[in-house]
Symmetry: C2
Subunit: 645 residues, 2 copies
């Protein structure tokens, strides 16, 4: 099957051929980042993280496992059974990264890795280095625990990324042989099974988008549809307790559950199946209303890395695996393409900043696996993990970022994210255009977008004659709450009836040099949480723009964070600090420092006092920083949810 080169380099999810997707993503290569937070993250990813992870793949034996499988090395298999997937995720990150920064050096590492993978492939197409030598007889015998389909999914994604980034088909060819083997093993009328850890579903749909061979879509549907029928023992942990279409709420292992949702959204993007879309909307609402941290992170329980009960959202004991936040980002991206509703873009952006970015240090060298919302300084990022799912997952997400800023639709172009960049693309109606976006977002709310449509070439009796006009859809983020946004076109403020949490459509016969200016108010907000989130009683979370803030001991030496009561009645001082944490807006709040009642010394319980003691409180100042930037200085306390007065 020849891949369709028309799709060229497109970010996952490429739905541009779907009949059902409302929005269609744009290719990563169509977007070039300019100076700003994300350009800086992209450069660190390319310059530090991706080479650093390659060295770790080598030093931890993950690449040796491929050499061993290829018969080039005689030593034992190293690490967990799913270690191949780290190589594949790295390869995907590196491939996307080659688009924005072609590099002969990185290209060589990528090609070497692809060569190793190819050499490790068995004659029948099978690839998994754990089962390739002494354990070959155990292939496909324990789908619950052994992650073979999960690893295959990551290899498929890597191959699609590499093909889209380079046009080179060699890894795609390897993958097609692998997937054809999987199809002949688990396809229609073959063994009725599904994998313990969802992942391959997203990958198979993407492979279908790339090859247009519908058997890959069919296989994705089979793996989704077989879940919940006790093929995995009915385990909630493995998300096999209920069929997806019947689920009322998310439960079990958070990454598994959210990868399944993202895969099912991919399936719905291609099939438009209403029961799946209804189930996904129901699960999304349930998560957002009962099971999600204020950072967009999900999966509160250490036990089973799982979703908890409704409103079970402990802070210091938050599990909140970085991979689960990435899964949430992937799922919301697909929901956005499918339905075009700003609520998905809101959560997509929010989780990207507050759930995913904390997963990597500012210097690009260390990673969080769990993400507490309060900490005494004991949980710190690590350079690597024996179970290293999160590090390359963050890396590939950052590498994909340019593809997340815009989508297109029949009507025009959708601006989801605000980040300095240039996009040059062709709208579905055939009109080519360039947008220059300039902003310091998320640090301030001023955004300018200059429109450069290419001239319409009028062709007699051309069906494209209606492409003189098109719409630009501007996302008005939900975090604005009730604030009104000023939007100017060529210097003139426009009146509009649109509310935050929607897209503002500006339909026009756009001319070269047309200029949109947007001013998002960037006040600090204080969020409170549902009364049943017991740990947050009497506490607020500070936010500004799309960012959740936190108090960190490094900025507040000597202040016991647990006794700080923020004075909500006074707007905090907002200062961009160039030399702080790579440049962040720091907030300075008026606060009271409540004295701890000395009677609590050496006591855990006491008779309840009829009226609250009027405890002495000192007026003080307290500083907060973006949550994503915590734990980048000396070790110390941190908290998101803070007492207030």
């Amino acid at each position: 099957m020849k891949p369709d080169m028309n799709t060229t380099v497109a970010v996952i999810t490429d739905t541009r051929h779907s009949l059902f997707a409302l929005l269609k993503p744009v290719a990563i290569g169509d977007v070039t980042l300019a100076e700003g937070l994300w350009k800086s993250r992209q450069q660190i990813n390319q310059g530090i993280t991706i080479p650093g992870q390659y060295a770790l793949l080598e030093s931890t034996g993950r690449l040796d496992n491929f050499r061993r499988a290829a018969g080039k090395l005689d030593k034992p298999y190293q690490g967990f059974v799913y270690n191949d997937s780290d190589v594949y995720k790295w390869l995907e990150a590196a491939s996307w990264s080659l688009i924005s920064a072609p590099s002969a050096e990185l290209n060589e590492l990528v090609d070497n890795t692809i060569h190793l993978i190819g050499a490790a492939q068995r004659k029948d197409g099978y690839i998994n280095t754990y089962f390739s030598v002494d354990k070959a007889a155990e292939r496909w015998t324990n789908l619950q625990e052994k992650h073979e389909l999960y690893c295959a999914g990551h290899l498929i994604q890597a191959a699609v990324a590499h093909y889209r980034a380079t046009g080179d088909e060699k890894l795609l060819d390897v993958v097609i042989r692998l997937v054809d083997h999987i199809y002949s093993t688990f396809g229609p009328h073959q063994r009725e099974a599904t994998g313990g850890h969802p992942e391959i579903e997203m990958a198979l749909v993407e492979l279908y988008r790339t090859t247009h061979d519908s058997k890959y879509l069919d296989l994705a549907a089979l793996f989704i549809n077989r879940r919940g029928h006790s093929l995995l023992g009915g385990s909630e942990y493995l998300v096999d307790h209920v069929p997806l279409r019947s689920m009322s709420h998310l439960a079990g292992h958070a990454v598994r559950a959210l990868y399944l949702c993202a895969g099912a959204a991919d399936l719905a993007l291609e099939t438009g199946e209403a029961p799946i879309i209804e189930a996904l909307n129901r699960l999304w609402s349930n998560m957002v209303h009962q099971q999600m941290y204020v950072t967009g992170a999900a999966g509160s329980r250490y036990e089973g890395e799982a979703f908890g009960a409704p409103y079970e959202l402990p802070n210091a004991r938050a599990y909140a695996e970085t991979c689960a936040a990435i899964a949430n980002v992937m799922w919301n991206w697909r929901m956005l393409q499918l339905q075009g509703e700003a609520q998905f873009a809101d959560l997509f952006e929010w989780t990207l900043y507050n759930g995913v970015l904390p997963g990597i240090s500012l210097d690009g060298r260390q990673y969080f696996y769990v993400n507490p919302l309060a900490n005494d300084g004991s949980i710190r990022r690590q350079a690597w993990y024996p179970c290293a799912c999160c590090p390359p997952n963050v890396s590939r997400t950052i590498a994909m970022f340019p593809g997340y800023i815009y989508s297109v639709s029949e009507g025009g172009i959708w601006v989801h994210l605000y980040a300095s960049s240039v996009v040059n693309l062709e709208l579905p109606n055939g009109r080519r255009l360039t947008l220059h976006q300039e902003t310091s977002y998320p640090w301030d709310g001023h955004v300018t977008i200059e429109v450069q449509p290419e001239p319409v070439i009028q062709v007699a009796q051309d069906s494209l004659s209606d492409n003189k006009t098109f719409s630009i859809f501007l996302r008005l983020p939900g975090w604005l709450n009730d604030s009104q946004v000023v939007v100017k076109i060529n210097g003139e403020a426009i009146g509009y009836p649109t509310h935050p949490g929607t897209y503002l459509e500006i339909h026009s016969a756009w001319q070269g040099g047309d200029r949109i200016e947007i001013d998002f108010p960037m006040e600090a907000h204080y969020l409170e949480s549902h009364p049943l989130v017991l740990e947050n009683t009497g506490r607020v979370a500070i936010t500004r723009g799309p960012l959740v803030y936190c108090l960190e001991e490094a900025d507040n030496q000597g202040l016991p964070l647990s006794q700080v009561m923020i004075d909500r009645s006074i707007q905090p001082l907002v200062e961009f600090q160039h030399s702080l944490l790579g440049g962040v807006v720091q907030l300075t709040h008026k606060a009271h420092l409540q004295s701890m009642d000395p009677e609590w010394e050496g006591r855990l319980y006491r008779p309840s006092i009829p009226k609250a003691h009027a405890l002495s409180s000192t007026v003080t100042e307290v500083k907060s920083i973006p949550y994503f930037a915590w734990a980048n200085r000396e070790s110390g306390g941190m908290q998101v949810w803070t007492l207030f007065s």
Copy 2:
């Protein structure tokens, strides 16, 4: 080594020969319970629980494992590697139970079991059915995980109990051969190792008390002293991260940590070693001030069944294993004998009522393993568990209860617990006496104690000539807070300077028929918890006497418990309900039912509202029951910590 029959039937811990124990326990056989809560529990234990557990030991293959080890049965080993310990704990419970209720039928079950154990013993003394047949070569190869010393500890305790209950030495003989084998394997100058799960330490000290062979005490000391030196890999979970004497706080697996403390307290009772006593007092304070549920339960984390961080005490997600509460009871009992301080008796009693009793259903047929302090009705007692450590542990604790009411000292007799009973014993000074205690405690606070000393037989130049007088030490429970207790002797109120949380010593030349009357005020109290216990912000726990109360849905149909705000300003109605839950005092509180702000519908976070909404609240009534009695009716919600106004 002939055992010393002078000790006859004494409850663990029998410290009467210790030079260092301030108090000495009395034999279980010296105390006979009369009508009341504990007599009723004792009868259910004897009539229902102990026979029921025996049937389960049989039906789950635990006894078959012994038949297999004895070569009488050819089938695979069944269950977990530590399943022998369930048989031993049952045997201990049954043995203690034979004291208060001799039964030919139970005696036969006990004898059969002892016979099975003896038949399973190897020639060298070794007993463990998991390692007796095909796995014999793996004996003692994995002390971290395989529980051989733990199981041996429970067998020792069972043998001591059986010997004290019956005077029969046959199981003690078996055990002495086993322990001699252990001594020759792990004793001084032998293999330097210790067990992954403490338990044998308590047992070895008790065996020393029974046999007076100091090598058992030495071996207990070795197993304690070897911990914290990385023989178990330095694991915190296995409590091997720090030597006991250097520990600052309890960490790791809660049952392991608390069994170690109880064993170390036993060692200190025999050696008086100051560094151990100091460490135990430090750990006790730390637990009580930072790491203990209001029920006396400990070990808040599901992950590793472990202690959490300071103040980490979630309610719905409390782990609070029943065995950890039992361990806390055992530890406090030993601390009380060692130091005679009422704070240990307070926590001993409190944990017995609120941490241990919830572990078994009122009908004696079902058990809690984890003990949440709030629940939606999903966690219920089970008839048994694959890991069945808790059920026979509760049973043996109830069977030992008569031995927990009193201690003696040089000066007289100490009344720790209030429960209708008759005690007949000889004081250390040789004076025999009988106390008749009558009370409906814990339901009301009236207690009468009638003293019947046997006449002093005057012997010329007898050193016992000073035994005409002795003291009765009455515990004034710490839960009284500031309430004053009325104590009358022969109808006359006495003035005294003693405060709650101490013992009131009444020294007298007691005459037959002397009558002490005590009236403990039994108002309901409301406890609040330290501000750093985040889930309890704005909440109180209801207590009355030694009992923690809870709201249960069965008594409060239609009331959403999470919205109930108890009015602390009005004392609740106190009613003993004969037909409720086997007879309990139920409380009826005035309360407000706070409306849930409708804006929370479908939201988890929202901008913080400057002033709290004046939400409509309905005045209502809400009923509470003792926490130990929850989950004995239809399934439904329960909560200990409740909002208040």
